[in-house]
Symmetry: C3
Subunit: 137 residues, 3 copies
């Protein structure tokens, strides 16, 4: 069986944001066992799984990704929309934008410390669309 | 239901290449709803999803990945086949080589600006094999 | 059909380790066709697929990831548990911790040179839990 839902997130500031609750509330019932694919239909924001408790992890993520993929490198061509244009695409290639998480006992089977991050890499990315696909018995 | 197909891509030059059409033409019919796994059976080329329109994105990807994973670092050991040997393995670990994309209304449900990239990290990678697995009702 | 199993790996030293055999021995029988999700329920260790033969690839991975994500950057805040704290989270975001691999002919359909790596990014990460979910007919 395949269950599919599309959700639209609120607009987020540039940076990493916990969105686990947005995913959880999209489903009235999750199955006993299955696999959930979370697919962000964009090329300048990413998804990843990381620490769900201390907000300094997300602050360090922002600082680190800005250092790893610096703006204004001399060879960049795709900067038509500003210095956060190509860098957002590059950061997205590094984190990815499609997550697969098992479903168990009617829940997304995240580990104790795991949360789902939306990594908004644009200064004004606007509202992002996510397509959720749950595969089950 | 599981539908599985193997395709062999043409040999590509080092760099990022749009291969969405190669994936689309592998299937006569895609189901109404499902999940498609695209699995590259190699360790020195990657897959990612990014901008499908402007070719400068792919040019910037090539320049950036060469900067991020420089050739000829003094500590590299696995360079038996040349300076593009270990660097291709490392770049593959960063992008990944397994994509999961939802299927909806008989189509791969990519966003408007999303395309599938083969990132060929070797100078002469040759023809690459992809195993496609579609899970549906 | 969904088959789900949880395994606990032995504790590994910091570094990349081949764990393909741990995954293979978790299943008595794999189906003819399907998709296997391998989900590490942690935020400071990653999973990736790379070269299964020469151990120097894994040594170079360790050296490179330490260079890519240096310890002791001045802006890090989340270093309560030592210099390998935030860096382990960041490396995990780069490699990811959820793999999808096709199943074919009762086997995980890895390419000839592909193996599954556990990337232990902590100095003392301890035993790591993996949830395996196989989707089939």
């Amino acid at each position: 069986m395949v269950i599919q839902k599309e959700i639209t997130l609120p607009a987020f500031e540039r940076g990493c944001h916990l969105i686990t609750h947005h995913i959880n509330k999209a489903f009235d019932n999750l199955p006993d066992q299955g696999l959930l694919n979370i697919f962000l239909r964009h090329t300048s924001a990413g998804l990843c799984i990381n620490e769900n408790a201390d907000p300094t992890v997300r602050q360090d993520f922002n600082s680190f990704f800005d250092k790893l993929v610096p703006e204004n490198l001399s060879f960049y061509k795709h900067v038509y929309e500003g210095p956060d244009d190509i860098t957002a695409h590059l950061k997205t290639a590094i984190t990815g934008q499609s997550l697969n998480i098992p479903v168990r006992a009617q829940k997304i089977a995240l580990g104790t410390w795991q949360g789902i991050y939306l990594c908004e890499f644009r200064n004004n990315g606007g509202r992002r669309k996510i397509l959720l696909t749950c595969i089950t018995h």
